[in-house]
Symmetry: C2
Subunit: 209 residues, 2 copies
Amino acid sequence: MAGYISDAVIRRLPSYYRHLRELEQEGILQISSQELGERMGLTPSQIRQDINTFGGVGRQGFGYQVQALREHIRSTMGLDREHRMVIIGAGRMGQAIANYSHFARDGFITVALFDIDPERIRKGTPELPVYPAEEMEERLPGLQADIGVLVLPADAAQETLELLYRMGIRAVWNFAPVDLHYPRDMAVVNMHLSDTLHILSYQMKHMES
Amino acid sequence: MAGYISDAVIRRLPSYYRHLRELEQEGILQISSQELGERMGLTPSQIRQDINTFGGVGRQGFGYQVQALREHIRSTMGLDREHRMVIIGAGRMGQAIANYSHFARDGFITVALFDIDPERIRKGTPELPVYPAEEMEERLPGLQADIGVLVLPADAAQETLELLYRMGIRAVWNFAPVDLHYPRDMAVVNMHLSDTLHILSYQMKHMES
DNA sequence: TAGATTGTTAATCGATTAACAATC
DNA sequence: TAGATTGTTAATCGATTAACAATC
């Protein structure tokens, strides 16, 4: 009976995971909330609160075991199993995502891409096939994918999400610059590239020179 | 004298901008906080609070003028001027960012890429040159760039940021999976792809099936 | 044991929501 | 004018920080 974890904490989970992985690589075995806080830019108090909400494993007087904590967060995030992605849109960005090795390291493997452009379809390889978008219905069942990645024009995103849903896919990683509507039993996270660039622009403009 | 805008509001600015642009394309001239809230998934109350903190321009009894509001947000975010980006790392992802047309539409143009791989350097074109990383110091002044985009391995990101800073660049868009340290007169936003994928994984695992 | 650091409760802070008077 | 909807103040909610007793 894992307790409720607030959204704010969930958004920090990947950061914890990343920093603990770094610590592990540096050969650091245990760390206090004080030190971890300094590295992550959080207060020690918040570190302890966070770790407790997701079932932390600290030890008074010593701190936290780096490896144990990382393993715990890893399984909390469901990274202890493999995820199979299909990418809809095989342009430069779609191909870049398909080939980005960091995802594979965490168990996210791309099993296929889809596109409407014959040129892009021709560029598929046996390991990373690019199928015609019109074959999605017939191909998806065999691919056993659980994540759909939308890397296509904004106006095609909504209908594609709906098709993925009908085909049983319940998770979408959306790179199209639109906010999608989706059923409650679906998980969607957005990767709005332009949005973060716009925030950067804002910060540049309002900098304490 | 533009008042203080909280971080929470700043993070929503791009979303306002995106939705207002959509409304404009649909030919909608004015909208109430009620309707805009429905589209954006926010309460009318929050819409009004937000718009007021960034100097909104509503009219009692009618609502907000779509175009005027969009223009206002556009200039608030500093999108009324051109930004010149240099991309450090010309792999698939770096090239995908360089060629992503949406950024250009908002005035973010890529003026050059840098890389250490001769193969990638050779693939540069006159419009999108890929220079050797070792030439950064000599080339950057002439490029007149104001944004550095880091699309390189995590262990090279920090030193590259520092080099960019020395060369006068005060804004960094970071795709490397590390948290960087930077001076207070620098703006950095992170695009941690893996982080959002991990959040998706969490949500898949904890779904109300 | 004594010292250090967690786990946890209480206090504070900030952001969101509700309510309603102002006004177009 | 009457109706609608904003602008803004007050109430609520949630997240962060502070404090300290528990305990390794």
